[in-house]
Amino acid sequence: MSFTDIQKRAITEWETLQNSETPRILVGAATCGRAAGAEAVLAAVDKELRRRNIDAIVIQVGCIGLCYAEPLVDIIKPGRPRICYGNVTPEIIAQLIEDYLVKDNPRPDLALGTIGDGVVDGIPNLFQLPVLKSQVRIILRHCGFIDPTNINHYIACGGYGGLLKALGVKPEEIIEEIKRSGLRGRGGAGFPTGQKWDFCRKSPGEEKYIICNADEGDPGAFMNRSLLEGDPHSVLEGMLVGAYTIGAKEGYIYCRAEYPLALERLRLALRQMEQYKLIGNNILDSHFSFHLKIKEGAGAFVCGEETALMASIEGKRGMPRSRPPFPAVSGLWGKPTNINNVETWASVAAIMQEGANWYAGYGTEGSKGTKTFSLVGKVERTGLIEVPFGITMRQIIYEIGGGILKEKSFKGVQTGGPSGGCLPSDFLDTPVDYDSLTSAGSIMGSGGMIVMDEETCMVDIARFFLSFVQLESCGKCIPCRWGTKQMLDILEDIANGRGRPGDIELLQELAESVKDGSLCGLGQTAPNPVLTSIRYFRDEYKAHIEEKRCPALVCSALISYYIDPEKCQGCMICLRSCPAGAIKGGKRVVHVIDQDKCTKCGTCLSLCPPRFGAVVKTSGERPAIPEEPVPIGSASKTPSDQQ
């Protein structure tokens, strides 16, 4: 069967589905949807349809990105717009099936919005809501819309059309096209993709390799996982284009083992490609042959570094080596190798399908196109977003993200994960592009965006990232192995109230040495979170060191819990639940926390009924409280002990 026939058949299948007289129920069942309970919802859909003997098509789709409202279910009735429902439970879906499918009430109270043309009274258009309005979906255009386990859906939406176009032109022309698109590496460093391909193509050697880096190790980032789960073929099509252009006959996808569903989707996608002759010898009856293997990572953050990743594919310990020679000259098994990130490959497919000029129409002068981010942390609407470069942090956090969780105040946003930095509110109006973020002291990174509020301690965050890189340091070079350890020790001291004058300067000095002396990107960027947090939140470090105070009330060694004698009603709830037995008192007697016994677990604070609100958390100060339990109402004027 020729590809034209395959396309025709795929389009017929897709159109039959779109115009089906049977209602369709689409359930977002990527890992995040499942974590929120999508499988229970799927089971409920199945049960309810059978119980009522309703004929409906149920499709599991990828993530549309509105993770805060997971599980998501879309219902499409024939001749009606598609309606997206959020926070669906088994009970809600049963109700929806009755109300909408049976009785024709679309339940606007439960709907998030409609998708596509058509209007339903009382339901807004989903893509006109603030959360989606400023997003541009290129890489994620199919996620949540097609069945990722059905290659025909991808083909019907233009899939593999980019490959077909590529096979009809010379590799040099493709490189020009990619250069014209302005695409830069989406793994974080932002190297121009066309140029990278050009190096590898011109590198002497018959045997060449391409690799897809799907070892998304940045804690707090899940863009690649969502894409692989929701639209695996877009990544694979990009790889085919790259292999043809560079002249590689073999390739690898290195995907982390923590992503079982993404791996499953990739394996299935490869089997489907074999059936359609999209992989293997003489692809689409051309002279181009390409074989692709999936390599499962084994849990090592450093393997996101390209030379370490290649060592890991070769079966070795994943340790980096010095460059040059660069992989384009001597990579996997000493052969010229081109390695790109998942999102870069998927962008290639879109560029080949729609053209470089179209793609370059989005973004800024130096950063073309769109970028996906995982917007997480202390933000109201967490999720996976795709925005054109040049958008501001404020738009991302306040428009798309809906502002800070529980209306607390914004403190900072971390981009680039353990290699990046935390930017304060001064940068809220800075455009998000490669160069602006670098000049602010952070990096674009792969797309993790973690929002922090007033209750986040910057010393604690710096310590968190450093303990992560220290654990993940492969140990090959001393600056990284010992430098990060020394820095972590100092940060531990500061967080535990043992900070000394001069610690900040010592941290900065060590940071410079680690940056300059480390062998690979892990060590070279490891000090960034510490440096940016000192640069922008120096006062917070000083409070820890000089006043032994944690302003955000996070560092447990520097905080204390007290019970306000004027508010305590002697209800015994905290007293009974304290795991350390540190609370003294009795019924209708003001409770007192024994500071020597208190482990600062916060149980009392979380259990004290809000109408009393008697438990307070403090740092660096001691409120006026009695030392021993006293009857309710007699405590107000008891003098506190002098500190």
Binding site: A36, G299, I313, E314, G377, I461, C474
Partner: protein, 172 residues
């Protein structure tokens, strides 16, 4: 093979699991060609079946791939995924990624430790549970997250930890 780092009462359980090591190992190896690049996939498959990397298995793999035993051991200890001691039937993984961290992963880990009576990196003596702190599962929008077996549980609170663990225990 006796493993000195494992408590005596688990030795019996272990012996049962290990009985057919040689036989099952041959079965695994028969699908490989003996190239060095196959080392990690082989170790992964071995661990999937045995729950950890038994010493005799690593020695056998070294012979099969014509690699020094030290190389196999070196790879086995480099990657976080591989374990040299047996793990529990249920592996409870607590995510400590950035998003989970800022949304209270520490209290989740503390609660799991309290409920299971073991620290991160340990197993219960009856080998029912192992506890691991993991860098990131990529379910950050639903932070904090824990994973038991293949199930991801999002938006956790210490109270929900109790419920989830009770359900896992109830399925026995």
């Amino acid at each position: 093979m006796a493993n000195p780092s494992v408590a005596q009462d688990t030795q019996v359980l272990l012996a049962e699991r290990e009985a057919p090591v040689e036989e099952r190992l041959n079965e695994i190896l028969s699908s490989y060609q003996g190239k060095e690049e196959e080392l990690i996939p082989i170790l992964q498959q071995v661990q999937q079946i045995f729950g950890y990397l038994p010493e005799p298995a690593m020695k056998r793999i070294a012979r099969f791939l014509k690699l020094p035993e030290s190389t196999v051991f070196g790879v086995g200890t480099f990657y976080a995924q591989f374990k040299l001691v047996p793990s529990g039937r249920n592996i409870v993984k607590v995510c400590r990624g950035t998003a989970c961290h800022v949304r209270g992963a520490a209290s989740i880990l503390g609660e799991v430790e309290k409920q299971l009576g073991i620290k991160s990196g340990e197993s219960t003596p009856d080998l029912e549970y192992s506890l691991e702190a993991i860098a990131c599962f990529g379910s950050c929008a639903l932070a904090p997250v824990i994973v038991i077996g293949n199930n991801v549980y999002g938006r956790m609170t210490p109270t929900k930890v109790k419920e989830v663990l009770a359900n896992v225990g109830g399925e026995r």
